[in-house]
Structure formats: C-alpha cells, structure tokens
C-alpha cells in the first residue's frame, strides 16, 4: 500500500465527521469550512431517503424520521456505489435495528418495503419475456405474465391506509406489483389471500388458471364453481391491466 497510515487516518477522520457530525481537528483544515462537507453529504443521503420514502417521510413524526436517518448515516456503512439503490440499505437497517418496535410504529417495516419495492420494480433490469401469442383460452392455456413483478405480503395494509389509521388493522394483506411492459409504469393490484395463492401457483408452477383455482379451492376448502367465476373476472382484470401478456406458445 502506497498510502501512509497517517494519510489514511486523516481521510477517515474527515469521513467520520461527515457521518456523525462530531467535530474533529484536522491538521491544516479550515475548521469553519469543514461543516460544508457534513452538510453536503448528509443532505444527499437525507434527500435520497425522503425521495424514496415519501409516505414515510410525510406521515412519520419529523423528529423520529430525522433520528432514524441520523442513526443510519452515522452507523451504517453504505455499500452500494449507486446512490439511487442506497435506500434499500436504509430499509434493511431499520428492520435490523428494530425501529418498528422502538418507535411504536408496527407498520414501519411494511411501509418502507412497500415504498422501496415500487422503485425496485420500476427500475429493475429488463427481464426476458418468453414468446407468447396474443389469442388464447384464459382459463385453460398456460399464461405469460410480465416478468418484472412481485407478490407482496404485509401485516398492515400500507397500500390502502396511512399513519395512525394502520394501527388497528393488523392482518394478512397481499398486493401484486408489476411493471407494465409497454409503458414501464408500475401498477398495484390488491389481492385476496385466495388469489394471491392462485397467482403464485400460476407463476411458480406454471399451472393454468383453471388448475390453479382448483388447487387453491382445495387448500382453502371453498367451492370451486364459485371460485372459478370470481377467478375469471380477476383474470380478465389482469389482462386489462397488462399483467397477463398472452398465452404460452
């Protein structure tokens, strides 16, 4: 290593000051100007997090929100060189630190993940779409869906409610999020537990819609004939919204 330990230590001192704001003496530095580095770096991190998590930023008490950012910036080593990807590390930090319990915001982890996943789906690398035909049998053909998607499972309905409204709504909630193939826009579809499982079987096991509804009806102990009627309406909605692209060739 050509860099002397002394120079390394000086660089670390400035970087640590930027992260913590705890004042340091650095040889030859103009003390009255060092704060610009703390301010500039901190504002980039805070700005990126406020932009990535607009609902959390608006609905969580400002002091609590800033407190989490301060803690994160001071104590987490941000690993990604891509600043737009950095907010996922904040989510992971908040989960690991247990802020949801500490702050009495039991929906916090769900909310941050919900906000992050919108960015992730919108920006994720384009995935290959298998060949498909546009005409087919919605219930009996194997389906081709837009590949940039995720089925989300939450304990709180963060996709429908905000802030204190969420506190008495703990339960099981499912949401399909996907990127539209034509426009790149991100869409959310609220899912019942029944259709979350149905959809998962279609995607992961490549079952037809009909076979997947049959399998899910058995698991849930519900009437197949009624389920398939609801299922057909649901499938048509998935086509209309652009999640189902077509039929396997």
């Amino acid at each position: 290593m050509l860099l002397k330990q002394e120079t390394h230590n000086i660089q670390s001192k400035l970087a640590d000051y930027c992260k913590t704001g705890v004042e340091v003496e650095i040889k030859g530095a103009k003390q009255e100007r060092l704060h610009h580095y703390r301010r500039l770096t901190y504002n980039i991190v805070k700005g990126a997090l406020n932009t990535a998590y607009p609902i959390a930023h608006k609905t969580i008490d400002e002091d609590l929100w800033i407190g989490m950012i301060d803690d994160y910036y001071a104590n987490h080593k941000m690993n990604t060189p891509l600043v737009w990807k950095m907010p996922i590390e904040f989510y992971e930090f908040v989960v690991e630190t247990g802020y949801a319990d500490t702050l009495g915001l039991p929906y916090l982890d769900d909310l941050l993940y919900f906000e992050w996943i919108e960015i992730e789906i919108h920006t994720m690398v384009d995935l290959e779409i298998p060949d498909f035909k546009e005409e087919g049998d919605l219930l009996n053909d194997k389906l081709v869906v837009t590949p940039e998607h995720e089925i989300l499972s939450f304990d709180y309905p963060v996709h429908k409610f905000k802030g204190a409204e969420l506190l008495d709504k703990e339960g099981s909630y499912f949401v399909l999020i996907f990127r539209k193939h034509d426009s790149g826009a991100v869409r959310f579809i609220n899912l019942s537990p029944f259709f979350a499982v149905t959809l998962q079987n279609i995607i992961e096991q490549q079952l037809t819609f009909r076979h997947s509804v049959e399998a899910t009806s058995k698991v849930f102990g519900v009437n197949y004939d009624q389920s398939i009627q609801h299922g057909l309406a649901f499938a048509n909605d998935l086509v209309a919204q652009g999640f189902i692209l077509g039929y396997d060739v």
Binding site: L3, T7, I10, G28, Y37, N79, L82, V83, T123, E148
Partner: protein
C-alpha cells in the same frame, strides 16, 4: 472526436433533450452510476438519447482517492455499461467519496501529499488497464485543504504525469477554489499540464458567505467564469465543452442560450486559431 458544447443529461430534462430538433447540444454527458443496473422506462430513455447524441460519461462513485482497495465488482459493471453506451470520454473526480468501505456520495478532498499522489496514480493506472480506456480526472472544488503538504496544482500535475491520465479541466471549480482559497485562477491554470486537457466542464455556483462559494451546479454561469473560460481555451487545443446543470434546472431555451454563448466563445477562439494556423502553413 466530438467537438463543441454538450449538455448534462438529467432525468428532469431527459424527454426535452431527446425531442430537440433545433439548437441541439453537440453531445450529452451522464453519470454511469445514475443509470447502471437499471431497466424499464429510464433505460429506454437513455438508449433513445444515446442513439441521438454522442455520449460522454462522468463518474461519481469510483472514488479514486479512497484509502481502501478499488471496487472491482463496480469496475466490472462499469465496463459492461461502457460496452453498451460507448462513451467517447470517461472522466472522474480527483477526490474520494468512499472511505473505510462506506460510500458518502459526495466529493471529499484528498490530502495534497506525496503518498496520496503515489496511491492515486497507481489506482488510476489500474482503472485504465482494467477498463481498457483512458481516464480523465477532474480538478474538484474544495472548501478546505486537508493536511496538505503541497499546493493543489502540484498535486494534480504530478498525478497526471505519474498515472498517464488525461485532465478534465473544470473552469468553474478553478474559479471557486481561487475565490475560496485566495489564489490567482489564471496562474493556477497556467501551472497545470494543459497539453493533457481532454475535456472541459462549465457550470454555475452559489456564494454562501462573503468568503465562500459552493459549487452547486444550480445557477447560470457568471460572467467572470465565462471570461476565465475564454482565457483558458486560448491556451489549449480544441476539446469538448460541457454545460453542467444539476439543480434549479431552467427551461430548455435558457440552457440553449448558455450553450450558444459557450459555443460562440469556442468558435471565436478556436476557429480564429485555425485560420491563423492555415495562414502559417
């Protein structure tokens, strides 16, 4: 080689830049880190822009001055990105933005010291070898020297000479540093290896106190920086010029007016020189 004045490609103005038919910038520049590992709508827009304009890439996160090892995973991704977008120039900041394996996402000043010169020069050589392309390093604005044992010009010059890299001369940064550290901007520029200048950046800044200017890229270029630019390009061979605007981005016609002003200076200085050369030959 690209010549003339280009414009920073930012998301806020991406659609407008892509749809421009008249008074187009001669090229666009973007930070790979803002577009790497990205698909969807923005990737599509970047491809559209890259089909329409020559491309320059100006990095943010290489952190050439970091004390730790280079991030080869990042370099691998960068190389892949360059294979796709084929930038004519890849430039980076002579600073560090990562320390002890934590990114800070802004430009911290490297101590102007001999061991830092050796360290940074070696890293530049490694990066150039790995990417199989030259790197142009940018003189950055800084608000305080840190444990300096020499002046900034000596620091930059020795790194350029030892590493064999090119220089991206940011004229606004020279102006900002000259103001903040009370030195003469022209003397500073004269002392740099001007034959290695491959690219020039121009931008606006903001004075935040009587003795401090911050390099914000959020204001129009001021006249003294235009004057310094004209003085500078009289001393170097023609290279591409970039107008950087990252914040408070105005309407496109305002940016186009700034581009035209820069281009008129370029035309005045460099075309005049061409005439002089032709006469002399």
């Amino acid at each position: 080689m690209v010549s003339g004045v280009g414009l920073g490609f930012r998301r806020d103005i991406a659609k407008k830049i892509i749809s421009l038919e008249d008074n187009k910038p001669k090229f666009i520049e973007f930070a790979p880190e803002n577009w790497m590992q990205m698909g969807g709508y923005w990737r599509k827009k970047l491809r559209e822009a890259a089909e329409k304009y020559p491309v320059m890439c100006h990095g943010l996160s290489l952190s050439i001055g970091s004390p730790e090892e280079l991030d080869f995973e990042f370099l691998k991704e960068l190389k892949k990105f360059f294979d796709e977008f084929k930038p004519e120039v890849y430039s980076e900041h002579l600073s560090y933005s990562k320390c002890d394996n934590a990114h800070l996402y802004d430009l911290l000043p490297i101590p102007f010291r001999q061991d830092a010169i050796d360290h940074v020069s070696e890293r530049i050589r490694i990066v150039q070898d790995y990417l199989e392309r030259p790197l142009a390093i940018e003189n950055v604005s800084y608000y305080t020297p840190v444990a300096a044992e020499m002046d900034e010009a000596s620091f930059i010059t020795q790194i350029v000479e030892k590493s064999g890299c090119n220089l991206l001369l940011d004229v606004n940064n020279v102006y900002v540093n000259a103001f903040n550290h009370n030195y003469d901007a022209k003397n500073f520029i004269k002392s740099l290896p001007l034959d290695r200048v491959r690219y020039i950046h121009m931008a606006g800044h903001e004075q935040v106190s009587p003795d401090t200017i911050i390099d914000t890229h959020g204001q129009p270029i001021i006249d003294p920086v235009f004057d310094l630019f004209e003085w500078t390009i009289e001393r170097i061979n023609p290279v591409p010029i970039l107008l950087e605007r990252d914040f408070n981005i105005p309407q496109m016609d305002e940016l186009q007016a700034e581009i035209r002003k820069l281009q008129s200076i370029v035309d005045k200085v460099w075309k005049k020189e061409n005439v002089a050369e032709t006469r002399n030959s």
